[in-house]
């Protein structure tokens, strides 16, 4: 950067920044395959926003005004139940987007979003997106593709909506892994549990929390302690 400053004029430095931005933009599924001119048009409409850890970016239920991409950091998309319990729907990493469905649908933010780490977001206003979609067909095609993937993901979540089923499957896994006394320690992660239960990791986190609140298990560092084996068996639907 310094050598750039020393050798070229102001306009070129901005151009230099744009190249970096274009490289990043190209890696986002929405902008894959766009021509340099189109990418430039996108870059011009991007609003950069720095966020601090814990900063709320969007509130559920407010009008959806912007689509966001995470340039750096991590964003948590979550819903809050009437009892005030938080449910994480997704963690958004660099290159990924959030709030797209309500922005395209013209509705309200479906979930809230909070920065889990300091980072930079790229936002595009709904009105700007509409103009770009009208002018750039490739972009419109990409949007259709991204949104269909979203629908696929949502359908798989809907299949899991029966929270009771997931908790039941998790209970069975815990019983299977417990009490392996004497033998080799069998360790497993929440990711493993999710794969075994055929569900998303977020659902396992929720189910574990539920089991803890019900007093059936206790979560410790590195350990899941079964406090009430009988109740866990009932949840698992296995006979005593």
């Amino acid at each position: 950067m310094c050598c750039l400053c020393a050798t070229v004029g102001r306009g070129d430095i901005i151009l230099g920044n744009m190249v970096v931005e274009a490289e990043f933009l190209k890696s986002i599924p929405y902008f894959a395959g766009l021509s340099p001119v189109e990418l430039d048009a996108v870059a011009r409409r991007i609003l950069e926003r720095e966020v601090k850890r814990g900063e709320i970016i969007l509130f559920e239920g407010e009008p959806a005004r912007e689509l966001y991409f995470v340039a750096s950091g991590v964003v948590k998309v979550f819903k809050t139940s009437p009892e005030g319990k938080e449910q994480i729907l997704q963690l958004i990493r660099p290159g990924e987007s959030f709030n797209d469905v309500p922005v395209f649908g013209g509705g309200l933010n479906l979930a809230s979003a909070e920065a889990m780490a300091p980072g930079v977001l790229y936002g595009i206003r709904k009105s700007d997106l509409e103009i770009m979609l009208r002018d750039h067909h490739k972009l419109a095609q990409n949007v259709i593709q991204v949104l269909s993937q979203r629908i696929e993901h949502l359908v798989s979540l809907v299949e899991d909506l029966s929270f009771r089923h997931v908790t039941g499957r998790l209970a069975r896994i815990l019983l299977e892994y417990a009490g392996d006394k004497g033998g080799e320690r069998r360790l497993l992660t929440q990711q493993d549990m999710a794969a075994m239960a055929g569900t998303a990791r977020e659902m396992i986190g929720r189910s574990l929390k539920f089991l803890e609140e019900e007093g059936v298990v206790r979560l410790e560092r590195h350990r899941i302690v079964i406090k009430d084996k009988k109740a866990l068996k009932e949840i698992a639907g296995v006979a005593d």
Binding site: V74, L91, R93, T189, G205, R221, H222, I226
Partner: protein, 69 residues
């Protein structure tokens, strides 16, 4: 001295992106060179966010399942 269990990192899978460090609320993870290493500390409360956020599956927060006596 008793070893403190920490998230397990598969350094061959780590791409050095640093996302795990950015979500960790304690100083349990450090980048050494271009890979992450876990430093033994009881400050790590096993929130498992590092595992959740890792794009390459390099971090594993393992649980042992035990029945209370």
């Amino acid at each position: 001295m008793k070893m403190i269990e920490m998230p397990v990192i598969d350094q061959a899978k780590c791409n050095g992106c640093g996302l795990c460090l950015s979500v960790c609320s304690c100083q349990a993870l450090v980048l050494v060179g271009n890979v992450v290493t876990a430093v033994e500390t009881t400050d790590c409360g096993w929130c498992t966010l590092c595992e959740a956020v890792c794009p390459t599956g390099a971090i594993r927060c393992l649980y042992e399942v035990v029945i209370e006596e």
